[in-house]
């Protein structure tokens, strides 16, 4: 008999694994992105179930809510020719598989066994809020890396703007304020002329 928690866990893990697989197997890039979104979402659910509610929700907020939206945006705008991208796929598949298997084997050889000495973390006490706990660590012990990360992001912003902002000379645009400020006498010149004499 499985408990409710276990049921939720297995349900969402199954969804996650399936959608992750679908993400790399579907032909349509938009579908692939959507499966990725689903994978993120279920991963977030699993984190929340583990008690890491802050991480889970931030995963949804940042990745699903913002990053993937922009990603989807781009994928929808692009006209990706899947047939052409797939041309080499079958040909290189065996090579790729062999490399992947070798790497997997190596990693298994090296990493199996009791290498990672970290004991499982103790269960948090009641009333524990991991949002608070994270904030506590982030703004005290790790404030230095945190600030550096802020500068990395600043540089990314500067770089993005410096590389994409173009001031095109000669573009035409309206300035409503200018249009309203216009007076008739600025544009219209009234010229006095003597009447022509009838000859």
């Amino acid at each position: 008999m499985i408990t409710f928690n276990q049921f939720v866990f297995y349900l969402f893990s199954a969804i996650m694994v399936i959608s992750a697989l679908r993400m790399i197997t579907v032909r349509n890039p938009v579908h692939a992105v959507l499966h990725l979104v689903l994978t993120f979402f279920t991963a977030a659910v699993l984190w929340v179930q583990l008690g890491a509610e802050f991480l889970g929700i931030v995963l949804v907020l940042v990745y699903v809510g913002a990053v993937m939206v922009l990603f989807l945006f781009v994928v929808m705008m692009l006209d990706i020719n899947i047939a052409r991208m797939r041309e080499g796929f079958v040909r290189f598949l065996p090579v790729g598989l062999v490399v992947a298997l070798i790497m997997l084997g190596e990693m298994l050889v090296v990493l199996t066994g009791r290498v990672f000495r970290l004991a499982p973390p103790p269960m948090p006490p009641a009333g524990y809020s991991n949002t608070e706990a994270l904030a506590g660590v982030l703004y005290t012990g790790y404030v230095y890396p945190f600030e550096i990360a802020a500068f990395v992001l600043l540089v990314a912003i500067i770089a993005a703007i410096a590389l994409t902002l173009r001031r095109r000379p000669g573009t035409l645009h309206q300035d409503p304020a200018e249009q309203i400020r216009v007076r008739a006498r600025d544009r219209l010149r009234i010229v006095k002329m003597d009447a022509e004499k009838r000859s």
Partner: protein, 353 residues
């Protein structure tokens, strides 16, 4: 009755939890849908009066049954799937728009202790859920296989991502003032009379939050996603019948959600506006949910009022307002608030203490 209880006890524990949750959900969702139905009625009536018309008055007395008639009509209409549209996604899109609009209600406290899930990170959860709604719109636009729909959904994506930032920052201000992410505690932090409501110390963020809320729900004057004068009806051009009705439901449910959240976060939620005054005991019998309802109704009225009053923004104006006005305002405000908290200016900002 006893038989019922014993039957209940026979059920496995997991199933019991599941059923309990489902019942709670129904208790929230049913009134919500009813509220949506009558919000549409109110909208048509109020805008009608503002424009010196009468509005719907044929179905039932004073047109009260109009929403019911509309629902029935929508249900019996054919759902047309355009040729070469992506059928599966086309039909999923309305649900993707609707589900987050409902899910967000899970953490909304209607009254003292009256909340489905009293989680610690409620504020973040709300943000996460409201940010998900954009998928429905995006996918609807793409799956419709229509240029207008795609254009509409592209506009939405950019707009929502832009205003989400301002919205998030405004909520950071609330979080700092309340010292908690839990919505009930945010309300508690505002207790002690209307003077304690966050609307006063955070008035800039209050304005930013509500404006971004209007933009997030794609309502006038930010409704370029529909923009009927340029792109017919935007992302839902191709939708008809029930599929369209669900988009409609989602939009209005989101409107109500934003209004409720604004009330909770800036106007003290279920707290009585007469707290700390002589009138407090006179109105002690009024349940908190009524106060919340009244405050919410006020913001809903604002929504309708905007729609009747303002012309639609141009797309670049929307972007400029979002990035160059609202976001800087929030950043400066949060900065000032941080200083106020650090210096311990007590009357309002107790968050740091």
């Amino acid at each position: 009755m006893d038989g019922f209880v014993s039957l209940w006890n026979m059920l496995p524990e997991g199933l019991q939890t599941l059923i309990w949750i489902l019942v709670k959900i129904v208790v929230i969702v049913l009134p919500l849908i009813l509220a949506v139905a009558y919000l549409t009625y109110a909208e048509r009536k109020i805008i009608g009066y503002m424009q010196i018309r009468i509005g719907p008055n044929r179905v039932g007395p004073r047109g009260w049954l109009q929403p019911i008639a509309d629902t029935v009509k929508a249900m019996f209409k054919e759902v047309v799937v355009p040729t070469h549209a992506n059928r599966y996604l086309f039909l999923t899109a309305p649900l993707l728009a609707f589900a987050p609009a409902l899910a967000a209600w899970a953490v909304v406290p209607f009254d003292e202790g009256l909340v489905l899930a009293d989680i610690n990170a409620g504020l973040l959860y709300i943000l996460a859920m409201t940010s998900l709604g954009v998928y429905g719109v995006l996918i609807a636009g793409w799956a419709s296989n229509s240029k207008y729909a795609l254009l509409g959904s592209m506009r939405v994506a950019a707009q929502i991502v832009a205003y989400e930032i301002a919205m998030g920052f405004a909520l950071v201000g609330v979080l700092m003032a309340a010292g908690s992410l839990n919505l009930s505690e945010i309300v508690h932090a505002q207790s002690g009379g209307p003077g304690q409501w966050f609307a006063w110390p955070l008035i800039g963020l209050f304005a930013v939050y509500f404006i971004s809320g209007v933009a997030e729900t794609n309502r006038a004057p930010f409704d370029v996603a529909e923009g009927e004068s340029e792109i017919v009806a935007g992302f839902h051009v191709e939708y008809s019948g029930m599929a369209f009705a669900i988009f409609f439901l989602a939009e209005y449910a989101n409107m109500i959600l934003i209004s409720v959240l604004t009330s909770i976060m800036f106007l003290g939620g279920w707290l009585s506006p007469f707290e700390g005054t002589l009138l407090e005991s006179w109105f002690a019998w009024v349940p908190g949910i009524v106060w919340l309802g009244l405050k919410t109704a006020f913001f809903l009225l604002l929504y309708l009022w905007f729609r009747a009053t303002f012309p639609r923004y141009r797309y670049d104006q929307i972007m400029r307002l979002g990035w160059k006005v609202l976001i800087p305002v929030t950043i400066v405000w949060i900065f000032g608030e941080g200083i106020a908290i650090a210096l311990g200016w007590q009357p309002w900002l107790s968050g740091g203490a």
